[in-house]
């Protein structure tokens, strides 16, 4: 068990290392470099370009710069943004907090809702409740998020005036001020994640209901309600742990479109800004940061699945 955990941890670190190389190389192979990209037309002036390159240390070999960058990342030194000329850590810090706030709210609302609805749909297989939930889920999955976000703003902010349409507070606003602005983004995100998780849980519940051990439980006289709680749920919810992990990672990875539509000051919007500013160091660092979060959350989900599933936990070769 401990060896298994160590192995997973090790492979996660290796993955992260490879990702950092890929991100770095991808930026390196672009025509020009960070300075020509950022300066654009101004790069035609050789003195400005040379000054910029000198400033950014671009004359050193790529491998040295990668080591500096990666080592700095590990120590919390994320480098300096070109456009804003500020430490990236300062820029990212607040926005990442905001993204976490939104992700947590959406998870706390969406995951329990998805599990409950998924189980209900599975238990009511092919009956009206299931058909309504399943078709609703497909509907929610197929609508692009910018459409659902826009419709939400149109109806609830502009039409009914219940809440703000877009976020108007600054990135470093207190959490409470921020929270009052997260209602519509939360709803928009919840729609998508509930749809995906619901469908998986529904299928899983249906499969488990057809398993031999559920038939056996019926035939030893276990009442239906107890079969659901003791025999069906633990076995059918286990596979959803990994999808929930993926969903949380997706939420933390900056839900770019949703944040942009609602003008939410999170990491997703920052990355869009960084790209449009051609601020390559910032782009690079956000990419690596999001990759770390993604890998970390998935690792946690895998370990949780391992801990909760006796078949994996106590596997004896």
């Amino acid at each position: 068990m401990i060896r298994l955990v160590l192995r997973r941890l090790g492979s996660s670190l290796v993955t992260l290392l490879i990702v950092s190389v890929v991100i770095f190389v991808a930026v390196e192979v672009l025509p020009g470099d960070a300075c020509t990209a950022y300066l654009g037309r101004a790069a035609k002036d050789p003195t400005i370009l040379a000054a910029c390159r000198e400033n950014r240390g671009l004359s050193t070999p790529a491998i040295v710069r990668w080591v500096d960058w990666a080592a700095g990342f590990v120590q919390g030194d994320l480098g300096v943004s070109m456009k804003r000329n500020k430490p990236i850590a300062d820029l990212v810090g607040w926005r990442f907090r905001n993204t976490v706030v939104l992700a947590l709210t959406a998870s706390l609302v969406g995951i329990p809702l998805a599990l409950v609805l998924g189980v209900m749909a599975g238990l009511a297989r092919d009956r009206p409740l299931d058909i309504a939930l399943s078709s609703g889920a497909i509907f929610a999955m197929t609508i692009p998020d910018f459409v659902s976000a826009t419709v939400l703003i149109l109806v609830f902010a502009i039409g009914l005036g219940w809440t703000n349409g877009v976020v108007t507070v600054s990135a470093n606003a207190p959490i409470l001020d921020l929270m009052s602005n997260t209602v519509l983004p939360t709803v928009a995100l919840t729609l998508v994640m509930v749809a995906h998780i619901l469908r998986l849980v529904r299928t899983s519940v249906i499969d488990t209901l057809q398993s031999d051990f559920v038939t056996m439980a019926r035939l030893k006289g276990v009442p239906f309600r107890r079969i659901v709680w003791r025999h069906v749920l633990p076995n059918s919810l286990l596979p959803s742990i990994n999808l929930i992990g993926l969903t949380i990672a997706w939420l933390l990875g900056g839900v770019v479109v949703t944040e942009t539509v609602f003008n939410y000051p999170g990491i997703g919007r920052l990355s869009v800004d960084a790209v449009s500013d051609r601020d390559l160091p910032l782009v690079q660092t956000i990419a690596l940061l999001l990759a770390s979060v993604y890998i970390g959350v998935n690792l946690l989900a895998d370990l949780l699945a391992l801990a909760l599933n006796p078949r994996l936990r106590t596997y004896r070769a």
Binding site: A217, R218, P223, R230, P234, R316
Partner: protein, 612 residues
């Protein structure tokens, strides 16, 4: 005789076809179970025996419904009970031991707790008394260390241990009827014998009535007092088990018994031609008529009813020609002396195979799955490999085919070719000359290819045949496995299990191999079909002088076909000898145990006990 506690009365169960008609899976079933009696239900797959067993606890699988009749327990109609009443009966006074206990135990609950759940539902035990009872039940099914076992999850137990837990769980409600669904299928022969001993002792100790479903008449012979033979949803013969085995009255029972390979004779058993009608088939007369050697005009017109046999009021049969007959009237084919020209095809020397690899930190070397196996095989010879699961039978085949590397020794093919490379790196001609037939034709035949396409693959790959030439050759091959050319256009899904396995054999012979490896090729088949596949394999190996290695857990099957037998025990050869020597005069303790554990469907078997 004791009064019946469970009565099935003219029961009909079925499903609605897409056309809206009723298709009956059970039809006109009437049978009683007396207090303390053990009733066997036997027949081939699809005959409805399991459906009948489950109906005896008021349960029908999803999709099935009650069409008519009743099942009554102490006079109460099970199909009219409320869910709550049924829950009290099920697992309480009528308990089930399921087929495949491994999948019938909930994977996330410790087995002790699963037994505890039955106690909660059907007894008032709590606290320490409940715990004591759980351990007592585990001890009753003869598992060592009940306290340790109780804390295990199902996947941490072996198949035999899981089966015992399932029995313990069934006993928790102190039932007076125990329903057994293939209680030993999938277990090793020695484990099977222990489970049967256990069930017999439980019956003696508690006086429970039992109903035992099995496709294996050997199991029925060892457990049941009375047996109902079922065919196509109906009971065709219901009599005392010794009477049925010694002098079967119904032609189907006679055919079934004649199709079972016997350890004592080494004959290829006689197959029953044809296949049973699908549920819902409309037929005016006897449902067995089209396969029956004694059918006449009356049989195709008038359905026979289950009625007492003349001079045997306790026994019933449903046949216009019912007549108890001794089995000697249906001899199988004796194995004809195959031509063995002496050339050694395969020479295995000191073979060792290990699974797994040493850990990164250099842990202990994994145990060898096969160790020190030396055996050779001549042209036209059939070599049987027998042993329990984990004995290394299939591992040897994997090493020969190059699916898993040997870790020691050598395999020499045709005197000069050393088979040491993995299959992907072998020369095409070597691949062609060694062919493999798998256990399960459903998995080994591509369901989206027609039979013609399936057979065209080896023909194209090894001989460059295509188009009309390949098709003509494929038709020849089908004829050699006794299927006609109309099968070329069909898909595997349209064939029966036995037909699919014959196609798989035809595909192997399409390569014109020198050596054919058969891995449990008949264990997924019903006995009547198994007999025809065995006959086919025998004829093909004799005709073409092909050497064959036959891997099977069933010693009687191997006896029927093999010239020599290798008995494997924990990866090593326990004994090697001619089929007759191994089966009739085993010299090693392990072989003797294996031979003794074979359950033959002989009368008078109930008194016999495991001496393993």
């Amino acid at each position: 005789m004791n009064p019946p506690i469970l009565v099935v009365d003219d029961l009909a169960v079925g499903f609605t076809t897409r056309a809206g008609a009723d298709a009956r899976v059970l039809d006109g079933i009437s049978i009683d179970l007396a207090q303390g009696e053990v009733l066997g239900l036997a027949g081939e797959s699809g005959c409805g025996k399991s459906t009948l067993l489950y109906a005896m606890m008021g349960f029908l699988k999803p999709g099935l419904r009650l069409i008519g009749g009743a099942a009554r327990y102490h006079g109460r109609a099970l199909f009219s009970m409320s869910e709550a009443d049924l829950d009290a009966v099920r697992g309480g006074t009528i308990a089930l031991v399921p087929q495949n206990a491994g999948q019938s135990l909930t994977p996330t609950i410790r087995v002790g707790e699963q037994i505890g759940e039955s106690l909660d539902l059907h007894t008032s035990l709590v606290g320490p008394a409940r715990h004591e009872r759980i351990l007592g039940l585990i001890a009753d099914v003869r598992l060592p260390d009940p306290a340790v076992i109780a804390r295990r999850y199902p996947h941490e137990l072996s198949g035999g241990q899981q089966q015992r837990i399932a029995v313990a769980m069934a006993l928790a409600g102190d039932p007076d009827v125990l329903l057994l669904d293939e209680p030993t299928t999938g277990l090793d022969v020695t484990t099977q014998l222990h489970i049967l001993d256990l069930l017999r002792d439980l019956r003696a100790a508690k006086g429970m009535a039992m109903v035992c479903v099995s496709h294996d008449l050997g199991v029925i012979a060892h457990l049941a007092d009375r047996v109902a033979i079922m065919y196509a949803g109906a009971i065709v013969e219901a009599r005392g088990v010794d009477a049925v085995l010694a002098r079967p009255a119904h032609p189907y029972t006679q055919g079934l018994l004649a199709s079972i390979p016997r350890l004592g004779t080494g004959r290829i058993p006689a197959a029953i031609p044809g296949r049973p009608p699908a549920p819902g088939t409309d037929r005016p007369g006897c449902r067995y008529a089209e396969r029956c050697p004694r059918a006449d005009e009356r049989c195709t017109r008038l359905p026979p009813v289950l009625e007492p046999l003349p001079g045997e009021p306790e026994g019933r049969a449903a046949c216009h020609h019912a007549e108890p007959r001794g089995l000697d009237a249906w001899p199988g084919d004796a194995v004809s002396g195959a031509v063995k020209d002496g050339a050694i095809v395969l020479d295995i020397r000191d073979l060792a195979v290990s699974y797994g690899k040493r850990g990164l930190l250099g842990g202990p070397m994994p145990a060898k799955a096969v160790d020190g196996v030396t055996v050779s095989l001549r042209r036209g010879e059939v070599l049987g490999l027998v042993g329990e699961s984990g004995s290394g039978k299939s591992t040897i085949l994997r090493a020969i085919t190059g699916l898993w590397p040997a870790s020691g020794g050598a395999i020499v093919f045709d005197g000069a070719i050393v088979l040491d490379r993995p299959a992907a790196r072998r020369e095409r001609d070597v691949l062609r000359r060694v062919q493999l037939v798998f256990q399960n034709p459903d998995a080994s035949l591509n369901p989206r290819h027609t039979i013609a396409e399936i057979l065209a693959q080896p023909l194209g790959l090894y001989f460059g045949l295509g188009g009309v030439a390949a098709e003509a050759r494929a038709a020849d091959l089908l004829r050699s496995v006794r299927l006609d050319a109309t099968y070329l256009r069909r898909y595997p899904g349209q064939l029966s299990g036995g037909e699919k396995q014959r196609v798989a054999i035809a595909r192997a012979f399409a390569a014109e191999p020198d050596l054919i490896l058969c891995d449990e090729v008949t264990s997924a088949l019903d006995v009547s079909v198994q007999a025809s596949v065995l006959g086919l394999l025998r004829d093909l190996t004799v005709e073409r002088g092909v050497a064959c290695i036959l891997v099977s857990h069933d010693l009687a099957v191997v006896r029927a076909l093999a010239d020599r037998i290798v008995v494997l025990h924990r990866g090593r050869i326990a004994e090697i000898g001619t089929a007759a020597d191994i089966c009739d005069r085993p010299s090693q303790t392990y072989t003797r145990a294996l031979v003794a554990a074979v359950l033959e469907p002989e009368p008078g078997a109930r008194g016999l006990r495991a001496h393993v």
